[in-house]
Amino acid sequence: MPYNLEILLDEKSFEQLNSSERQFVLNQISKEEYMAQYVILQDAKTIFAAESIQLKPRLATQANLLTALQQKKKSPKIFAIFQHKTPTWVTVAACIAIVFLLKNGPFQSAETKQPLFVSNQVDTVYIEKFIPIEKAATLDSTITPAIETEKSIQKAAPKTEIKPKLDPSNITYYSDAMMNAEMENYTSIINMATQPRGVSLANDSISQQINRTIY
């Protein structure tokens, strides 16, 4: 029958062992060793029991603990979210998942999206030729001969076109320097002798405008 030396030492002295138990014990350790260990264990138990009776928990401890328990019950449960400890591997996994989603998920911007290539080889090439069809410009118009009546002749405003007569003697020649409006100290050289008619330059509207822009 299998025995356990540790259990035997805990429960029985050498004298209390039966013959088979003694045989088992003597195969392991000597009688003196068994007796010594048995006495030590029994005395140790006695010492432990005597010491533990003398030792009492502080009276304040229980009161402090009950206060802590009451405070915990009163504290709002929302704080439990912040107080809850998350294992490190969960935090790391969450970070990896966020990075993965940002790179490959629906939040990716259109610019960074890679085009999807189904195949690199092209088997058949279809060329579409666009033939522009030009519509012939047809103008349907009916020309009805206008009958000139006296009224229509009267209503129509008389158009008079006044064409200046080009007289070589009437042309004013301006030097390049004069044409350059940005030039300073410009002096107009006009041969007044060749201009027998018209308003003077001082009263001329165009020359007045030129003078205003220059000066």
Partner: protein, 177 residues
């Protein structure tokens, strides 16, 4: 514990406290080199942890082993900070034991045993106290100290053997009584 987890039930907490406070206090008192003040502080810390994070306990498991695991881990953290030196034989004890032949009585044996128990290295003391004071099974101790069952058995045997060797001079006079 389920009631405490669900509603923060004070009655449930009081029941747990009355059932385990004394046992935990003594266990930590022994593990902390018989420093009662520190053991009292640690006891409060252990129960505060139960209040603050009751969900850490898996109700499918044994509460007794869980609460002792919390206490044992707290003591282990303290060793890491302090790292006390463990001397096999204290000089004063040697001088006492030299005269043991003349002062043979049960009280001296127990005094020496108590001192030698305190001098055990923490891993031996831990399993020894849990086994012979708390009366926990070897499997329960294995869960608490997070070791295989064989390691627990080995540590218990080694602890008993060390004590036996140190108290060897009592063999002729005391063990025969």
């Amino acid at each position: 514990m389920k009631r405490l987890q669900k509603n923060g039930d004070e009655a449930a907490f009081n029941e747990i406290y009355l059932r385990y406070s004394q046992r935990l206090l003594y266990f930590m008192f022994k593990m902390l080199g018989q420093d009662e003040a520190k053991a009292q502080d640690f006891l409060q810390d252990v129960f505060l942890k139960i209040i603050a994070e009751p969900d850490k306990f898996n109700t499918a498991k044994n509460f007794k082993t869980w609460i002792f695991t919390v206490a044992a881990n707290k003591c282990k953290n303290d060793y890491r900070v302090i790292k006390p030196s463990h001397v096999d034989l204290h000089p004063e004890i040697v001088s006492e034991t030299e005269n043991a032949d003349k002062l043979i009585d049960q009280e001296l044996f127990k005094t020496n045993l108590s001192q030698y128990l305190n001098e055990l290295i923490p891993v031996y003391k831990e399993v020894f106290v849990l086994r012979y004071h708390e009366g926990l099974s070897l499997n329960e101790i294995a869960i608490i100290v997070a070791c295989p069952l064989g390691t627990v058995k080995s540590r218990l045997f080694s602890a008993t053997k060390i004590l036996s060797e140190k108290l060897d001079h009592f063999k002729q006079n005391y063990y025969a009584i």
